[in-house]
């Protein structure tokens, strides 16, 4: 895979695509049937916008059933997540690099103390 900067790709979006991407990021995830209504475009246009954002790797899309209909659920890609939620003070989640997660480990106690008293 070639590492194209995300901001470069985003700079080339049409106005509708940009609004669509913004909507997906704001909601954190939205059904395609709500997506086009929220954007105030036709369903056909809505699906074309999603198609294009998926192709550019800016959103993820998966099949789902919603209100009894087959539709898609559109979510932001992992790159947009707020990774600072792994931090407590200046300490990273102690489970990183570990195979096992022990919720009662000393390292995790320390992490929680940081969370409670340093933020």
């Amino acid at each position: 895979m070639v590492a194209v900067s995300v901001s470069e790709t985003e700079a080339e979006l049409t106005e509708d695509e940009r609004a669509g991407l913004e909507l997906v990021r704001e909601t954190g995830g939205i059904h395609q049937s709500d997506f086009w209504k929220e954007l105030d475009v036709s369903s056909r246009k809505g699906s074309r916008i999603v198609e294009s954002l998926v192709e550019k790797g800016l959103v993820d899309r998966e099949d789902t059933i919603y209100n009894g209909h087959n539709t898609y659920y559109i979510t932001p890609i992992a790159r947009d997540l707020d990774f600072t939620l792994l931090m407590a003070g200046d300490m990273l989640s102690p489970f990183i690099g570990e195979d096992e997660v022990d919720p009662n480990s000393d390292a995790f106690s320390q992490w929680i103390m940081n969370l409670a008293y340093e933020e």
């Binding site: 992992a78 997540l81 792994l86 931090m87 407590a88 989640s93 990183i96 997660v101 929680i112 409670a116």
Partner: protein
């Protein structure tokens, strides 16, 4: 160098540091474009070949590097050509957010369902049962242990769980 935008993120820097350690960090922090051999990296970064290989292997184990092997026709030696796969970093960190979320849920349950006693001198916390076994005296220094409320810990865990659920679209009631 590739993946500059990812490597600017301080959490990602910390993540890589956590994986490869300080000696491996020069390798992890400067991924070249395209393929590279361990010897080239050692030369370029002025590092011991073993340290370079160790870092590359850790990255490989975490899906952050891949290699292909080439056999030199004359010498018969194998050459490893490495590619950095840092596109996988966001997915890895997403997975870590889920693991953290689950651990926080378990730990919050434990914190809610137990009573704790603290030795303020040694800063050691005991569960009620432990404290009772020790006659409510710290086994280290002998001073009496005091009942400790953990509301602040639980509140902090509540807040972070809410934030993680919001960010990962986890339905808290599910």
């Amino acid at each position: 160098m590739a993946f500059e935008d990812l490597l600017e993120d301080p959490v990602i820097q910390k993540y890589l540091h956590e994986l490869v350690g300080p000696t491996g960090m020069p390798v992890a922090a400067a991924p070249p474009d395209g393929e590279v051999t361990d010897e080239e990296l050692a030369e370029e970064l002025d590092l011991e070949l073993n340290d370079v290989r160790r870092a590359l292997f850790i990255l490989y184990e975490n899906d952050l590097a891949s290699y292909r092997r080439l056999r030199d026709e004359d010498s018969g030696w194998l050459t490893y050509l490495w590619t950095f796969e840092y596109d996988n970093i966001p997915e890895n960190l997403e997975e870590e957010m889920y693991r953290l979320h689950d651990a926080l849920e378990d730990r919050r349950e434990y914190e809610r369902n137990h009573e704790f006693y603290l030795c303020e001198i040694c800063s050691i916390r005991f569960e009620f049962g432990e404290a009772m076994d020790f006659g409510f005296e710290c086994p280290e220094c002998g001073s009496p242990v005091e009942s400790m409320d953990n509301d602040r810990l639980v509140d902090a865990m509540d807040d972070r769980l809410d934030a993680l659920e919001d960010e990962l679209n986890i339905d808290a009631d599910a």
